[in-house]
Symmetry: C2
């Protein structure tokens, strides 16, 4: 059971673009992030290469250019990030963290609230 590789903050920005609509070319990623983050194309290239090396992206040579596709699902990566986040703040601070999380987030959709409420219900029932 291989856990998804460690993805750094900048790398996440690249992954987001790839996850959004794979497969993508370096060009496409570069366009998006050149705009969104003011990154030079070379920077994007480096990050793509690193992500390939650490197994977060796959690619196939399509003529002269590469087509990159995610090698780890977004969900997996999010779960891994969440784990590492929890490891840091230690589970004890979960509730304050959650409060902050919920408060600073854009208004939640009704169904999201429902989903969470449901979760809480289950959790609560077990007590």
């Amino acid at each position: 059971m291989k856990q998804p590789p460690q993805i750094s903050s900048s790398e996440w920005k690249v992954m987001e673009v790839v996850w959004e609509d794979p497969p993508v070319t370096a060009q496409q990623v570069s366009d998006v992030l050149g705009e969104r983050e003011q990154w030079k194309p070379q920077t994007v290239k480096t990050l793509l290469a690193r992500l390939v090396k650490k197994g977060a992206l796959a690619y196939k040579s399509e003529g002269r250019r590469f087509h990159y596709t995610p090698a780890v699902a977004r969900e997996q990566a999010v779960v891994a990030e969440t784990e590492s986040f929890l490891d840091r703040i230690s589970r004890g601070s979960l509730v304050p963290a959650l409060q902050h999380l919920v408060q600073t987030t854009r208004p939640l959709e009704t169904e999201e609230i429902e989903a969470l409420r449901e979760l809480l219900k289950q959790k609560g029932d077990k007590v």
Copy 2:
């Protein structure tokens, strides 16, 4: 309004010990983390020094040894971590992340559930 400094994963482990019962000496931290993380005393020393340098810890010379105290509150640090966590996973994934969070955590206390439920209510009312 200065935001709390960037605290790395290992540094968090040190901070946890300091927050737990300040002020502490390097010795005390070293004892705890030598056990808990199998860290050599020097490792702890380095981390303490780095935390002082980045302004996360304060100290006063008490005889030959230092007494370290937190320079940033735990809450502040947690909030900062939460922000950076959210920046990574991008707010869109919040709910799945929360679900994972809640599911993998130890059973919540009733009052914790209440607090969260209350939060959701407020959030929900605004929709």
